[in-house]
Point group: C2
Chain length 339, copies 2
């Protein structure tokens, strides 16, 4: 026996296909009796709705697309999970695209999404060089950008002020008395939120009357291994920094390990600060001082915002800047007792 279609159900229930369609999508349009009859036939014959056909007919798939650099970042995963939690329960599956910081791949994934007529796109940032194309696409279909602010851009965003947060953390380190502060970040040239963090850092340093030293600015993709590598490179410098500000916790925790291996005490000999406040941050040793990012909140809000846009409610622009805060734990202190 072949899979029953809406037509089979209609025939068996003695109604029209339109009525079956209504029974599935908008039951309250039907007489209770009719509804029961149709639902009975549906259940009895194991009818499975064909969403692909529905999508074609409606000219719009009810799938959402999410773009993230890599699922390897636990903090971004928080955003992903929160988002999915909201939209899945409303029948919207999510296709997750890992761009792996590769602009070509990002574009290719984007094309695939367009081919599938996804009903909405959510970006946890995007490659800087693809911004024009992606922003243009944002005009055509519901899109939301997360994890950064796009002020005055006319685009929907739910983000954090990376520059301000980074500036604040750098000021904090400066305030502790550090003169030689390094910055380790993930590809500032390619990712705007990291670039903003770098700007916050350099601004704070410059305000202090000093220029940021190029050898103190390192570029590494956000993995533990890279944090380890970066710290080793910094420690090999003729004049190593007394504090290291890592633009994400993965790098910071890797750096912590490198310090331990080098026999350096944190924070007595060297201070380390992170960005994100991943769950692991408070379980590291010493517990990591970092910037808390409301990743989960952004995911939840993005999900709700997207649902609203799809339902044509609340058609205004979504533009929200969420607060961050410095979480002082145990990896930063005044300099000068070691090294």
């Amino acid at each position: 026996m072949t899979k029953p279609t809406i037509q089979d159900i209609a025939r068996l229930a003695g109604v029209s296909t339109a009525t079956v369609s209504r029974a599935i999508h908008d039951p309250k349009l039907l007489l209770p009796e009719t509804l029961r009859k149709v639902q009975g036939v549906i259940k009895r014959h194991g009818y499975i709705y064909n969403a692909v056909a529905g999508d074609l007919s409606r000219r719009k798939s009810s799938v959402l697309g999410l773009f993230i650099p890599t699922a390897e970042s636990p903090k971004i995963s928080s955003t992903v999970i929160a988002l999915q939690d909201v939209v899945n329960s409303h029948g919207f599956p999510v296709i997750i695209n890992n761009t792996l910081f590769d602009p070509r791949l990002e574009l290719d994934l984007l094309r695939q999404c367009r081919e599938r007529s996804l009903s909405g796109l959510i970006f946890v940032g995007c490659m800087t060089e693809n911004e024009p194309a992606i922003f243009a696409l944002g005009e055509e279909m519901p899109s939301i950008f997360l994890w950064d602010v796009l002020e005055g851009s006319g685009h929907n965003y739910i983000g954090i002020d990376n520059l301000a947060a980074s500036y604040k953390m750098t000021r904090y380190l400066l305030g502790l008395g550090h003169k030689r502060i390094a910055f380790v970040g993930a590809l500032p040239d390619k990712v705007s939120r990291v670039r903003r963090r770098l700007e916050g850092y350099t601004r704070a340093i410059r305000e202090q009357g000093e220029a940021a030293r190029p050898e103190y600015i390192l570029e590494f993709a956000p993995t533990l291994e890279n944090g380890h590598l970066a710290m080793r490179r910094l420690l090999d410098l003729a004049q190593p920094p007394t504090a290291v500000f890592c633009a994400c916790d993965m790098l910071a925790i890797g750096a912590l390990t490198a310090c331990r291996e080098a026999g350096l005490r944190v924070p007595q000999d060297i201070s380390i600060a992170g960005f994100d406040d991943v769950d692991f941050a408070s379980h590291a040793w010493p517990p990591l001082t970092t910037v808390r990012v409301p990743a989960q909140e952004m995911g939840t809000m993005a999900g709700r915002g997207m649902l609203d846009m799809l339902r044509k409610k609340n058609s205004g622009l979504i533009q929200q800047t969420l607060p961050t805060s410095i979480i002082v734990r145990g990896t930063c202190a005044e300099p000068g007792r070691g090294v």
Copy 2:
């Protein structure tokens, strides 16, 4: 101007729709000249292929579905990333379904996948109570199960021998001289791979001539916070264990923190072992002794296997058991110097 369809392209290029379709999917069927002509028109008019229509016509979507308990687990993320890496580059997007250990949700997500006529499903385990339904579905469409072995089941799997690995780790702790070993796992009743790990533990304990003590067996979902909680509960026992085997690293690292807070030295006062070998394991303090799980390999192999199945190559059953190994780091030692 409305979006051009395959028909518009056909007309503009002076060929039939079939030829355009071939130009898109199987270019070598066409005369080079024809191909160039069609591709020119496609490019010039900004034609975008409509995958939804294609899927309907072909009666099969080229999207894959992946079921995981939660993206919050970094080790499962490794599998996800590796899998996506393989299939995305072949044009297969992946819909990721987080079941959150909720059987109802799992079933609902499964229904959504069926409605979308996904071409293949990959499961990082599934809820035990849904196994019959899911295994039955596995007969209808390409499916692969990961992270556990399904010997003699007739299903495709790429997994690890959880029971044996767990048995081995417990033996290791026993060999160190521990008599009081606790087990903390994530919902063994609901997830087969955790059940197997529990079995490995109890088997090893029983072989020692002792029965596993119920108060030493704790059930917690795999989060850092829960590991912390579990350890505190164990430490509150009249007779706390001298070693704690956590069925996943998240729990183990949380437990580590709880010990530190309680003023207990690891491994001098208490031993802790994990399972997974997440990246963070070697960055914890002390570095975590754990069972290495080839998560990435499973993802890669699953991706390749799925592609093969979809291309009808290699139609045999995929049944592979990958090796695990105990990674001895710094959290386990002989008992008896503290507590």
